[in-house]
Each structure stands twice: as structure tokens, then as C-alpha cells.
């Protein structure tokens, strides 16, 4: 094998010309873009959450004051939008997981919809467990 991989002549490569706003041309493209952008909202939420955790090092008052800040209409709106994006990420992620990891039972493969439903069920169970654990450990 040749270690220095053969590079194609750039002048001979085909570059499709796409308009800058190509992702607004079809509903499916827009949904794709929204799915990709869900990661931005998730990341921003996690950084805000990290700041909240950091506030707890400064004592309960600082922590409560930070939570109070998050009760402003702006932050509540942000978290509602972030939640919608996060759920969209979860659902699309589980859809693709059901495609990538097909389940087999003996000779038969489990229908994709059923795999998807099982993962959705696991997600709801994990979310409920986190919530219950959080509420019980808090006290």
C-alpha cells in the first residue's frame, strides 16, 4: 500500500454549485438544519447549567440568586425552546439508532418501528428515574 494516499487533481474535482440558502428550499432540508442546530441549544443549556453548579460553590444564597435569575421570561423562553430542540434531537437520534443497530431475535429481525419504540420507552424510563432520584436525594 502506498502510504502517501493518491490525491485527486483538484482542478478535475466536481464541486456542485449550491445556493447559500439551499436549506430553505425544502421542508426536509430545513428539518435537517434544525436537527443540526439542536446541538447549539443543548450546548448553551449545559454551559448555563455548569454556571449554576459553579454558583453552588459560593453558598446556597448565590445558588438561589442564580436560579432566581433564570426565572426571567427571557430565560424561561430560552429553556422552552431548548427543551423542544433537545426532544427533537432525542427523537431523531433514536430513529437513526433503530436503523444503525438492528435488533435480532433468533432468525428474525425485530421491526424497526418496534426497536424505535423500545428505545423511546427506555428514554422515558431513564428520564423518570433521573427525576425520581433527584427528588429523593434532594431531601
Amino acid at each position: 500500500m502506498n502510504g502517501t494516499a493518491v490525491r485527486p487533481d483538484k482542478s478535475k474535482l466536481y464541486y456542485p454549485k449550491m445556493p447559500r440558502m439551499w436549506w430553505l428550499q425544502k421542508w426536509a432540508y430545513l428539518l435537517f438544519m434544525l436537527r443540526e442546530l439542536s446541538s447549539v441549544f443543548i450546548a448553551v443549556f449545559l454551559i448555563v447549567f455548569l454556571v449554576q453548579i459553579y454558583q453552588s460553590t459560593k453558598g446556597p444564597e448565590a445558588y438561589a440568586a442564580f436560579v432566581q435569575k433564570l426565572s426571567s421570561p427571557g430565560w424561561i423562553s430560552f429553556h422552552i425552546v431548548a427543551l423542544l430542540f433537545a426532544v427533537y434531537h432525542s427523537v431523531t437520534w433514536f430513529e437513526s439508532t433503530a436503523v444503525i443497530l438492528p435488533l435480532r431475535l433468533g432468525e428474525r429481525s425485530v421491526p424497526r418501528n418496534l426497536v424505535f419504540a423500545l428505545i423511546l420507552g427506555a428514554w422515558i424510563a431513564v428520564s423518570a428515574a433521573v427525576l425520581i432520584l433527584f427528588l429523593s436525594l434532594r431531601g
Partner: protein, 113 residues
């Protein structure tokens, strides 16, 4: 991409994938708890102590750090796809570097607890 970048690509992809799983399973419920229920007063705010438990710290590290690499990977390719004319090198540096900075910040905060 140079051959060195190519060789570490599976690492970034693995972190993207792991971060995607963590984000999919865990992030929505945490937005509900910390972004909505607590600020709206449905749950009391006396939760600061909970973060001090060693197991909770490990959990928080996984919860916060891994999805940052998921963001980095997706954001890098999305900005490329959007044809905004952002050069790839600096963009990759910003995205993956940002995730690494976020990881260091997370570790630093968790060690303060």
C-alpha cells in the same frame, strides 16, 4: 484535511456519537428540572449540596462534557454546509477547541465543589 487530521477523525466521531447518546437520553429531563421546574418554583432550590457527591460529579462530567463534542462535530459540519464562507481550519479549531475548553472548565468547576 492533512493525513494527521484524518487519523484522529474516528476519535472525534466517537466523541460525537457518545455525546449524542448522552444528550438524547439525559438532556431533556435536566432542562425540565433545572431550566424550568426550579426557576418556576415547582421544585425548591436547595439542591446545591447534591452536586458535592463524588458519584454525582462523575455523572455531571459525562452529562456536560460529552455533548460538547457532539456540538463541536455537528456545528463544524453545519457551518460548512451552510456555505457561509468560514474557512475550515479556524472553524475546526474553534469547534473542537471550544469543546476541549468546555471540558477543562467542567473539570475545574467540579473540582471546586
Amino acid at each position: 484535511m492533512s493525513s494527521t487530521n484524518k487519523s484522529i477523525e474516528p476519535l472525534w466521531w466517537g466523541l460525537f456519537s457518545a455525546g449524542g447518546v448522552v444528550a438524547a437520553f439525559l438532556v431533556p429531563v435536566h432542562i425540565v428540572i433545572f431550566g424550568l421546574a426550579m426557576p418556576l418554583g415547582w421544585i425548591p432550590t436547595d439542591t446545591g449540596e447534591l452536586f458535592h457527591h463524588p458519584l454525582v460529579k462523575i455523572y455531571l462530567f459525562v452529562l456536560i462534557a460529552l455533548p460538547l463534542y457532539h456540538w463541536a462535530h455537528r456545528f463544524y459540519f453545519t457551518v460548512n454546509d451552510m456555505r457561509l464562507g468560514v474557512p475550515r481550519g479556524p472553524l475546526a479549531f474553534l469547534c473542537y477547541g471550544g469543546a476541549i475548553v468546555g471540558t477543562v472548565m467542567t473539570v475545574w468547576v467540579l473540582l471546586q465543589l
